[in-house]
């Protein structure tokens, strides 16, 4: 899912400074799974904001509301009846959600409460790591299910580089595994090391964000 980090509190208070009536909007999907923007986190952030305002002796009115998904206009429409009561909306959803709400409520100031970071999966409870970059042309068959685009710091297709560390880490950080070491190990374990000698050709990045903002359409599903 999409993983995000809550913005530093000072940034949030700075964005909300001019406003008293705030709608704090959570999302029940990805940001709930990575514990940054679901109902619970909305409750906690609202509490923090109230405490910090009260400390300054400044008034604030926060409405807490969590949508099933913020990236679907169907759900974003749910807040139509009360969004008008608020001066600003701070959304805890990923960038997709923030923008869907901002687009739907054209005259409303919608700000992000989180920094959207990556597509990732859970490594263990409480730990999420980047797994996919959405390059638009998946080559996981060539690398036995380990992605060099997202997980190699240099996105090498014919790795590893000369900086790959003993112990299996990437040169940039000892806590970052060298995905090419993992790929080679898997090839060894599965007796597929001959795949390593295949020279992977240059990547066509036009299917990725480099080619411009992307869109997907299914005509058969359009109403």
């Amino acid at each position: 899912m999409i993983v995000a980090n809550r913005k530093p509190f000072e940034e949030i208070t700075e964005m909300l400074k001019p406003y008293t009536k705030i709608l704090l909007l959570g999302c029940n999907e990805c940001v709930t799974v990575c514990s940054v923007g679901g109902t619970k986190e909305v409750e906690v952030l609202a509490s923090e904001i109230r405490l910090s305002r009260a400390k300054e002796g400044l008034p604030v009115e926060i409405k807490e509301h969590t949508l099933e998904r913020q990236c679907d206009p169907e759900y974003a429409a749910e807040i139509k009846s009360f969004i008008g009561d608020h001066e600003v909306v701070i959304s805890m959803a990923c960038g997709c959600g923030v923008q869907t709400v901002a687009e739907m409520y054209h005259n409303k100031y919608v700000v992000p409460g989180v920094n959207t970071t990556f597509f990732g999966s859970s490594e263990e409870q409480g730990v999420w790591k980047e797994m996919c970059q959405g390059c638009g042309n998946c080559v996981l068959d060539k690398t036995l299910g380990l992605c060099p685009v997202a997980r190699c710091a240099k996105s090498l297709f014919n790795g590893p580089c000369g900086g790959s560390q003993p112990g299996g880490s990437c040169e940039i950080n000892k806590d970052t595994p060298c995905v090419w070491q993992l790929i080679v190990q898997k090839m060894k374990d599965m007796n597929m090391l001959d795949k390593y000698m295949e020279i992977q050709p240059t990547k066509n990045w036009s299917s990725s964000r480099d080619g411009g903002p992307r869109k997907r359409v299914r005509e058969d599903l359009k109403i």
């Binding site: 240099k154 996105s155 000369g162 790959s164 560390q165 940039i172 992977q200």
Partner: protein, 305 residues
């Protein structure tokens, strides 16, 4: 078909080659390069010019190569994949060939987090092996990566780097084989301090027959100080510095440390010269270019052919 490269001439003649290195300055003053070059003149067959090494902004490898060319050197222009996309890369290859630069060393490049601009965008459009392939295709088939025609082929001697000391060790020889298959003609290795490990790597390389496909130049760096040896041991990715070297440097009085460093260096050169498949050495005397003449002479590699 051969290129105008002096290094290629020396290697194909069967002579033991010696290359050196020149790091461009962090400013626009070409005198810095000229001064470094003056120390190396006559002692090397080709000079590497680094490309924003360790991701620190320096005068470009292209321009510094030209300065050295004007001094009579045969520059080995280094090109990394970190900062340029394939459009800029192919463009620079054409430019380099147009201005008489005969050698290109194709590298991935250190990640920008090591340098002075860690906030920069990561390019890595293509990797080092794809870069080698691109140069070869432009030169031998007259085609760009896109498949379109190159009008005026760049005649370049293609090099690459390999690190016998990085992990996973078992595939390091395979990786060199891959680079050779892609079109690499010579390879310069990371500095050799652990000669046993290097010998093992050369054995794997010979088993794959790669020593007959690429000219292998062993990387050589003299220790200038204990601090330098320690720094390379702990803070430079992919370096293997044996503890016994540090002990040897510690065992001599302060004024004699550099001398001991050169002694160790000469011992390494002798051992490496004797390994089957090694076609030369690449001396990286970083910020100590003055020592190259002494090393080359003492190793009985002077004068150059």
């Amino acid at each position: 078909m051969s290129t105008g490269s002096n290094l290629e001439k020396v290697l194909t003649s069967g002579a033991f080659a010696v290359t050196g290195e020149c790091g461009p300055p962090r400013g626009a003053d070409p005198e810095v390069i000229k001064k470094k070059g003056a120390f190396l003149k006559g002692y090397i067959d080709g000079v590497n010019v680094t490309d924003n090494q360790t991701s620190v902004v320096r005068m470009s490898s292209f321009s510094a190569s030209l300065v050295l060319k004007e001094m009579g050197f045969d520059p080995i222009m280094q090109m990394v994949c970190r900062d340029r996309n394939r459009i800029a890369i192919q463009s620079d290859i054409l430019g380099a060939a147009a201005l008489g630069i005969n050698n290109l060393l194709c590298l991935s490049g250190d990640h920008q987090s090591f340098g002075d601009h860690p906030a920069a965008k990561n390019v890595f459009d293509i990797d080092s092996i794809q870069l080698i392939q691109a140069v070869k295709t432009m030169r031998d088939e007259g085609k760009f990566i896109s498949g379109e025609e190159v009008k005026g082929r760049p005649n370049i001697f293609i090099g690459c780097a390999e690190n016998p000391f990085a992990d996973p060790f078992e595939i390091r020889a395979m990786r060199l084989a891959k680079k050779a298959a892609a079109g690499a003609q010579f390879v310069q290795t990371q500095c050799v301090f652990n000669v046993e490990k290097f010998e093992k790597w050369m054995e794997m390389v010979r088993d794959l027959g790669v020593h007959e496909k690429v000219y292998i130049l062993a990387g050589i760096t003299p220790y200038k100080s204990i601090g330098m040896a320690r720094y390379m041991k702990t803070s430079v990715p992919g370096m293997d510095v044996p503890d016994e070297h540090i002990e040897r440097l510690k065992s001599v009085p302060k004024e004699k440390i550099a001398e001991e460093g050169v002694k160790i260096c000469l011992e390494i050169i002798e051992r490496v010269k004797a390994i089957k498949g090694v076609a030369g050495i690449h001396i990286m005397a970083i910020e100590w270019e003055q020592i190259v003449s002494e090393i080359v002479t003492a190793a009985k590699l002077y004068p150059r052919p």
